[in-house]
């Protein structure tokens, strides 16, 4: 095979969704394998490693994000059905949910407001730009919803997506240790706190602790999406950050 022929194949493949779709799945599988082999070391979180590997590969080959996303959108799309699927573990943990509904509502309101207000306040004190503040506000909400909220308020949705992913990784990494430190042992409370702060990535981590923690984390993620879509737009307008 001549180098010329190889270049032709590369040009063909790099324009088809297949290449970037496969690359995304394979990068994640390798990152996850590494994570398991390293005893789930927090800094080797598979989402983080996958992003680093993929961004390096795209930068090295001069590939645009929009080209990459044409392939990766098939994975991204599954966020919707996965959100719907969260109803399943919730259903199987319903008896505990019914028993705890009031404390969980208190936790939800406290968590949703703390997540948005503390992030905006800290960034504002450190002179972040108004666009960054808008992208930061919904960072604890699951990606598709956070992007919708930011867009509605006139902020940059793709920046929100990254902050959402970073928050998710952060919550998954520090959440369990932090909850151990403040001696919270109840799996429902642990899951709910992690899910409120760090949505689906936190929920994936909570499922590793137990099915119960995962179910409550998924519940928190769903409820936070609900609460934040209602609370954040008027709140940010009230603070004068959004038009």
């Amino acid at each position: 095979m001549t180098p010329h022929r190889l270049t032709e194949i590369w040009v063909y493949l790099s324009a088809s969704p297949l290449l970037h779709l496969s690359l995304t799945v394979v990068a994640y599988l390798i990152a996850d394998w590494l994570y398991q082999r390293a005893g789930r070391h927090p800094l080797l979180h598979p989402v983080l490693i996958s992003i680093v590997v993929l961004v390096s590969a795209l930068t090295a080959t001069g590939t645009e994000y929009s080209t990459y996303f044409e392939g990766a959108q098939f994975v991204h799309f599954l966020l919707g059905p996965a959100t719907v699927a969260l109803a399943v573990p919730l259903y199987f943990n319903f008896s505990k949910l019914r028993q705890l509904w009031l404390p969980l509502t208190a936790g939800l309101l406290c968590g949703a407001l703390t997540a948005a207000l503390s992030a905006v306040a800290i960034a504002w004190l450190l002179h972040a730009s108004p666009q960054t503040l808008l992208a930061l506000a919904p960072k604890s909400v699951t990606a598709p919803v956070a992007m919708a909220i930011t867009e509605k308020l006139g902020g940059p949705p793709s920046l929100s997506a990254i902050l959402v992913v970073s928050t998710g990784i952060l919550g998954a990494v520090i959440g369990p240790a932090l909850l151990d430190l403040i001696r919270v042992k109840d799996p429902a409370t642990r899951g709910f706190a992690i899910g409120t702060a760090s949505h689906g990535i936190g929920t994936a981590r909570a499922f590793q602790e137990s099915e119960e923690a995962g179910a409550f984390s998924g519940l928190a993620m769903g409820l936070n999406a609900l609460a934040s879509s209602i609370l954040l737009p008027p709140l940010l307008r009230g603070l004068g950050l959004a038009a």
Partner: protein, 118 residues
Amino acid sequence: MLRTLAVLLGFQLAGEFLTQLLGLPIPGPVIGMALLFASMSVLPALASALRDTATELLQHLSLLFVPAGVGVMLHVHRVADEWVAIVTALVGSAVLTIVLTAFAIRMCARWWTARQPR
């Protein structure tokens, strides 16, 4: 597996439809989740049928965030300029949110159980 996927997509579609129809601020998939939950409460057989595939899908939830995360490429300059504010805000807010949420649940649960007749 195919049936579960059809059910999940169906509920997502129903959720999107309601969101658009009623102009709700809540995203379609979240409404879909609520609708599926209500349906399983009425029809428990649906829950058992979905359980295995749904659990499998949720085990790989992290993967689904990778494409959005790679979007960091688009914001290299902003992140480079404001990284101190962004990192401090993310870390501070994550710690505060997890701790305060857990405390709120614990305090409210104690008050709630103390108040109930034994």
